[in-house]
């Protein structure tokens, strides 16, 4: 029985790998590169308190344009608060947040956010969700974004028929439509199974390399941070406990190797 089970799993893995290759093969050379401008993020002396309880304490952080930053920390460490400050959903108690040249005051159109849950409107078809902000030529743009995430043929479907991974891919397409300078990822892969998560990692990495926007990934998965980011920041009790560069060659499928393992150990120790 065990032998059968093992061979079954092998076949599945092989099929999935082929799937992944098919879905995430680079775009056809006929398409011109669609790089757009990444925006730097700068936080200076940012404090955010809810009542008397400070969630972020005098935080200074510089993210250069086009960097892939991962923010790691325990729940309640201020990760999500940091992200809500960058996209303008909340405002800092004191200190300043800058995206590009602009001081963040209210919602920033050049910042897009991928939520933990996909947050697709169930009454809009996939294409309508991707182009939720409408605007001129939204249908073409939405279609191009869907193509980017490998779901070009699902535009007419209702979100209710999609799998969890597909929903997150639609949400990613929705974030890409407006060509944001900054993409914030709030643990968007947390609820996915391991294989789908690996797919999403490759997809995110590919799209980021292609378009060159700045990414802030919030996660509590240290391996995920090391596998994807240029730089990992550990947030502990509202302060930066560790700020480390990840100088590993890309692409790095699962970031195995001594160097990556050592990094993971260091980050885990700081969390």
């Amino acid at each position: 029985m065990e032998i059968f089970a093992a061979s079954d799993a092998d076949i599945t893995a092989e099929v999935r790998a082929a799937d992944i290759r098919a879905t995430f093969s680079p775009p056809t050379p006929a398409q011109p590169p669609r790089r757009w401008k990444g925006e730097p993020i700068r936080l200076s002396g940012v404090t955010k308190s809810f009542g008397a309880r400070p969630v972020l304490r005098r935080l200074d952080l510089d993210v250069p344009a086009g960097q892939f930053l991962a923010v790691v920390g325990r729940s309640g460490g201020g990760k999500t608060t940091l992200m809500r400050l960058i996209c303008g959903l909340d405002s800092a108690t004191s200190g300043d947040v800058f995206v590009g040249e602009a001081r963040v005051a209210g919602l920033m159109p050049q910042v897009r956010l991928l939520f933990q849950d996909a947050r697709l409107a169930p009454w809009q078809r996939v294409i309508g969700n991707v182009g939720i902000a409408r605007g001129p030529a939204w249908r073409e743009q939405a279609h191009a974004a869907l193509q980017d995430v490998g779901l070009a043929d699902r535009g007419r479907d209702w979100p209710s028929v999609l799998s969890g991974g597909q929903r997150q891919r639609v949400a990613l397409a929705r974030a890409l439509v407006s060509r944001p300078g900054v993409l914030l990822l709030d643990e968007p892969f947390g609820a996915l199974d391991a294989l789908t998560r690996a797919e999403m990692h490759r997809l995110t990495e590919r799209i980021w390399t292609e378009h060159g926007f700045t990414v802030v990934l919030i996660t509590h998965d240290v391996a995920e941070a090391v596998a994807l980011a240029d730089r990992v920041v550990v947030l502990r009790q509202g302060e930066i406990a560790l700020d480390v560069a990840v100088d590993l060659l890309r692409p790095r499928p699962e970031a195995d190797g001594a160097e990556a393992a050592d990094l993971r150990r260091r980050i885990l120790a700081a969390v």
């Binding site: 996209c87 959903l89 919602l107 159109p109 897009r112 956010l113 939520f115 849950d117 947050r119 409107a121 169930p122 009454w123 809009q124 078809r125 939720i132 902000a133 409408r134 209702w158 979100p159 209710s160 929705r174 407006s178």
Partner: protein, 297 residues
């Protein structure tokens, strides 16, 4: 011929050999198809078995004289009354007059209820100012104000339309309000982050999210609409189904009275089917409203 088909015709035994021969020629497919069709027909007819049975019993009781036509006319007499009133045009005139009143009242009352539900749902100050008043008014049985309505409007069209409007406004208000308040906060936040204006937010997120609840309110309102109209028309009218039945009572035409009751039942069922069709179209995104959807359990 399949073994099952064979064993079945054997079991039937009495089937003449010619028929058996034919069945064998038609082959397995036709036999199976016929049985499937018969089963489908049976399923379609089953809900009608009880009403048809009652109807047959009723006709028999009336024909045999157990049931006086002064108490309840025979179904045949009702059918005759239907034919008579259809021919002289009174039935259709009365039905269209009643339907017109019902829909006018629904449009006015439903519109007001919907507008108030939206206003109070999206804007808290409006809720603070209006909701407790509306809750008080809602708990007054609207038929209790008939004497007042007659004093205000007399016994003309306005009185009936007013009563229907008051009746339907509250269920639609309540369900619209509730629907808007329970729209997924996460989606609203998403829409704001993705730069939707307030109008876009309303049309693309809030209203579609509230729609299932609004439609429940509409179905509930339709029931109240007919109920109110029946009462209003019975009190004072010169046209309409209510008038037709009250008039028939004066002349002891029980068949026409029963016909009027049947007309109300059919109109109510029609309105309900219409809302179901609207639900199925407007809520096609919801798996619960897609064709072939099953219950939760």
């Amino acid at each position: 011929m399949s073994p099952t088909a064979q064993s079945e015709s054997l079991a039937l035994g009495a089937v003449p050999s010619v028929a058996r021969q034919e069945a064998a020629e038609a082959g397995l497919d036709a036999g199976l198809l016929g049985r499937v069709r018969l089963a489908a027909l049976g399923r379609a007819l089953l809900p009608w078995a009880l009403p048809l049975g009652v109807l047959a019993l009723w006709q028999a009781a009336a024909s045999l004289g157990f049931l006086s036509s002064r108490v309840l006319p025979a179904p045949g007499d009702v059918a005759l009354a239907f034919w008579r009133t259809l021919k002289d045009g009174t039935l259709l005139t009365n039905i269209s007059v009643s339907t017109g009143r019902a829909l006018t009242g629904l449009a006015i009352g439903g519109g007001i209820g919907f507008a108030l539900g939206v206003l109070n749902g999206v804007w808290r100050p409006a809720e603070t100012a209006l909701d407790s008043t509306l809750q008080m008014l809602r708990n007054v049985p609207h038929l209790a104000i008939i004497p007042l309505v007659i004093l205000w409007f007399g016994i003309g069209e306005e009185a009936k339309i007013f009563l229907v409007a008051v009746g339907v406004a509250f269920p639609i208000y309540l369900n619209t309000f509730h629907g808007i308040r329970t729209v997924d906060r996460g989606l609203v936040e998403m829409a704001r982050v993705y730069g939707l204006s307030s109008t876009a937010l309303f049309w693309r997120i809030v209203l579609p999210g509230a729609l299932p609840s609004v439609l429940v309110g509409l179905r509930y309102a339709l029931g109240i609409m007919w109920l109110t109209l029946i009462v209003a028309e019975t009190i004072s009218s010169t046209e309409g189904i209510g008038y037709m039945t009250m008039n028939a009572r004066e002349f002891l035409q029980t068949d026409v009275v029963v016909l009027g009751v049947l007309a109300y039942a059919l109109l109510g069922k029609l309105a309900d089917s219409l809302t179901r069709a609207i639900e199925q179209r407007a809520l096609a995104w919801n798996p619960a409203y897609q064709p072939g959807a099953r219950g939760v359990a």
